[in-house]
Symmetry: C2
Subunit: 202 residues, 2 copies
DNA sequence: TTGACAAACTAATAGTATTAGTTTTAGAAT
DNA sequence: ATTCTAAAACTAATACTATTAGTTTGTCAA
């Protein structure tokens, strides 16, 4: 047996540490091996390739993200939950830049496995929206809208596209966006209710 | 003089063609040289490095994007302009995947030059929102909200995060988002107007 | 104590970007 | 017409990436 006690878990842990400290969504195997005190090809005794490593780190990132979101919204309902979720989402993305960037870089085509892992990410939002008593389809739409707003904000922010009008408070922009979403959702609920009443009244 | 008549313009044009055909946000110099019938290092007689090449392609992408947006909204005002812009934005991103991905990958830190180029991207939105007669600051906020929604949508769509609930119409989700934005904007206008009346009445 | 297997290694390939230094050659000047 | 120059191509090399093949080493179990 080799003497350095390397393992998949150790490699993944080191990769996560690297990503967290650099804010980049990945690490090179060379750098990883250097940190672990082995030569690069030795890593291949424990991992299949960079894709598998990325998958493992991705799994960790998703889990951390979801746990964070659930904790932030556990004791909250409706608007309070939505607001808390938005806040937690933003904070996580800023504080875990590398992991968030990784989450937001799963390639669309390949990696059906990665897509599986991402499901809980949606479920958290769906659970919150379920409290409003909307139709399944309506929830699906508004969940998309909500997530698009949250990711769009982070994305434009990190990319520097909110760099313009620097003096204007970013947090306020975000709060406006979330309130805009909530107002739209409330209007939808009214429409939805009216429609149901109309249907039952026919 | 070398005989192949290579030039910066030719290289950039080929890079753009590559990016458009592959949908990737970049090309390798090797691939580029191969297509142009020269050896890789020859490219360095015309470009400084990949960063400069990327900058040039980025410039083209921004310009194409902006021209497209302006054309789509030229004869429209207020809500019509907003809706047309949203539609044009989405269509461009889907039809010019590679260029859009490039636009949405300028790194935040470096590349202040690239940031300069991106200004017209904001101006188009600001111009449209200016028609509503809002305060400068309010426009800045809502321009951020609008752009976040548009990019968020494209981004989640391309990433496959809207892959779930496949059966539910994506276009409708997008229309809901845009309408949600418009409703929020209209509410803001009312608030804004009330505030001004209140101020002048004091 | 020996033999097998896991885990490390070395050496090599192939793909990125990039630099240094050399050759070619078109076109201007003599 | 010949020669000179400078741009534009080249070759060769370095330094990164990931990855594979094949070899050695060391521990544990028979």
């Amino acid at each position: 047996m080799g003497t350095k006690g390397l393992s998949k878990e150790l490699i993944v842990a080191e990769a996560i540490a690297c990503i967290e400290s650099t804010g980049q969504p990945g690490v090179s195997l060379h750098e990883l091996a250097r940190r672990l005190g082995v030569k690069t090809p030795s890593l291949y005794n424990h991992i299949k390739n960079t894709k598998e490593l990325q998958y493992e780190v991705f799994r960790h990132a998703i889990e951390k993200f979801v746990v964070n979101q659930k904790a932030a919204t556990l004791d909250k309902r409706k608007d309070d939950a939505v607001k808390a979720f938005a806040e937690a989402y933003h904070t996580f993305a800023v504080e875990n830049k590398g992991l968030y960037r990784l989450i937001m870089s799963i390639p669309s085509e390949d990696d059906d496995r990665a897509k599986e892992l991402a499901i809980p990410l949606l479920e958290t939002v769906v659970e919150i929206l379920s409290d409003y008593g909307l139709l399944e389809e309506t929830i699906a739409h508004w969940q998309r809208v909500f997530r698009a707003i949250l990711h769009g904000f982070i994305s434009e922010e990190e990319l520097g596209y909110f760099y313009y009008y620097r003096s204007i408070d970013l947090r306020k922009s975000r709060e406006i966006a979330v309130q805009c979403f909530l107002d739209g959702l409330h209007a939808e609920i009214e429409k939805d209710t009216e429609m149901r009443l109309g249907e039952s009244g026919q």
